[in-house]
Symmetry: C2
Subunit: 331 residues, 2 copies
DNA sequence: GTGAAAGCGCTAACAC
DNA sequence: GTGTTAGCGCTTTCAC
């Protein structure tokens, strides 16, 4: 070790002096000498070598399905800030919504010795995550979770969000409310749709053929869902979409057959992606604290890694807020 | 090495058999035996150890100012796909627009032994990048570059883009065109504004007080720029904004004083962020192939890393396209 | 409080 | 074509 020679001490001593948790074992004088030598030399410890020795890399991986989906950048940002403040490096993996590529990338991350994972791609049945859970790799789920809830999860109060939407529409006088549901292989899809059912029942509103599942969370899927809705002849005056993209796709599709929002129907989204307030009419939607979710997931992961033991919290749901804008109006 | 024992060979032999570029030095029979043993054991090479030995980590870092700015996710995605296809891992660093944090993070990445950098945060004068260039760290600039162009750069034909805007507006009959310029500490700000000047001269349009520099590429800065424009009393019927966010901020500000677009003035943006087509009126803007820029930057970096020598191309500008939508109309 | 010695998992140089 | 040896840079016993 370069610094050791410069300070005239043994490498082991230099290592101790430079390592906050072993600094106590070294005399203050020596610490000072070593630290000064390190500064003089602009010494930067080699994290690879340290990791090889300690099997701790101070790297955390964040796995997301598609960074160009505006849902994820705030999550990434929240996580990044917490991690880098804690001296951790963030490795970002975009799986492109492909489970195979996800498998490979996670394997590669593990080979790189990452200390833990934050996963935003969980499917309802997810064998890969079951494996990670089984072998104790520190892993935190964010936004979506699996059916087996053996991994800590940071999400939002989706149930509240959907209830807020239904109540808002019902208060506006809507009775024929339908739900464009998210895919049933995601926890958000399942939970939002069961919350919809519950909220409708609570307001004693009709549920018959009121839920249409969409194949994915995309505008195209929203458009397809709206097309099916039209084709079914099912009367409706309001739509609760499981997310903003579905709402956008539905609006575009319905506009194609002459239905204008909010003139002919009302609609709500979910997530409050950026620019949703800039649309005309602006989208009424549920604001989800995405950055805080990312940050909280990162904190949970750090807690797990730090404790060398088990995760602290097993489920955290952050509060949401209904943002009322132009796409909902009295019936 | 675990696999070596299982296959009954020396660790070094196993290493050779597993390493594509050294496989030729081993007999096919042995290769087969080792590969099978590796599969049986689910062997995953330890990248840290390999990196420590070879000082190649197969990790590339991408440094961006703010992932929540929609400009960057497509770049990230493009880069990620090329890198992961080449067996590289992407480390993402969000500097939060803070040069100090950027310094620290880059230092930390180097300690982690990353093989190279893709940098999207270049300022016109950027001492950090000068240092990276000086000590030969493989580094590729994307989107923005520095004044000293000693690092390879992948950008867009900004000059073309601005000229397209000016020509389009001039063809529509506008004569009093002003430019909301980007900050002069970015190459894009400088180049777009000099392109504006050139294009205006070409069309023999008046340049006097036609350029207003904005403090940053944000909606707030665009609004401030528009406010200054109003206050100046300078007549204008069209605005060429240096990017979409500036255009949005300006539109909002001008709407506040009763000026509607395109009724009272025309405006163009730059980048064609997602959702720009969904606004009302939809924004006329210059589409930049962001994902391809990211991908190309990644390829350039891989080329440099692979060649062990110098970078291949020093400057690549990708073609842009004017997307004409509702914010521009005849005068 | 500090030094000595060993080793994390891998691969490059050198033997044979 | 394969085994031997050494060492990447660090940390962690174990002595003293």
């Amino acid at each position: 070790m370069e610094v050791a020679r410069e300070a005239g001490v043994h490498p082991a001593t230099a290592s101790r002096a430079l390592n906050p948790s072993a600094r106590g074992e070294v005399s203050p004088r020596t610490v000072r000498r070593v630290v000064q030598a390190a500064e003089r030399l602009g010494y930067v410890p080699n994290t690879l070598a340290r990791g090889l020795r300690t099997s701790r890399s101070f790297v955390a991986a964040l796995v997301i399905p598609d960074i160009t989906n505006s849902l994820f950048p705030p999550i990434v940002r929240g996580a990044e800030q917490v991690l880098s403040a804690a001296g951790f490096t963030l490795v970002l993996t975009d799986t492109n919504n492909d489970p195979d590529s996800e498998r490979g990338q996670i394997a590669s991350m593990r080979a790189h010795g990452v200390d833990g994972f934050i996963i935003a791609t969980a499917r309802w049945q997810d064998s890969l995550l079951d494996e990670l859970a089984a072998d104790g790799t520190p892993t935190v789920l964010v936004n979506r979770r699996t059916a087996k809830s053996d991994l800590p999860f940071v999400g939002a109060e989706d149930q509240d969000g959907v209830r807020l939407c239904v109540d808002h529409l019902a208060d506006l006088g809507h009775r024929n409310i339908v739900h464009l549901a998210g895919p049933s292989d995601t926890s958000t899809g399942r939970e939002r749709s069961s919350a919809f059912r519950a909220a409708m029942r609570m307001r004693q509103l009709p549920l018959r053929s009121a839920i249409l599942e969409c194949a994915s969370y995309s505008e195209a899927a929203g458009a397809a869902g709206a097309a099916r809705l039209r084709a079914s002849g099912r009367p409706f005056s309001a739509i609760v979409a499981a997310n903003d993209l579905l709402a956008l796709g539905a609006m575009e599709q319905l506009a194609g057959s002459g239905l204008q929002c909010p003139r002919d129907y009302s609609i709500t989204g979910f997530n409050d992606l950026s620019f949703m307030s800039k649309l005309t009419p602006a989208l009424t939607t549920v604001r989800v604290p995405l950055a805080e979710m990312g940050a909280h997931a990162a904190r949970t992961l750090l807690g797990w890694i730090g404790s060398d033991g088990n995760p602290t919290s097993l489920r955290v749901l952050l509060p949401v807020e209904l943002i009322i804008r132009g796409t909902t109006s009295p019936h």
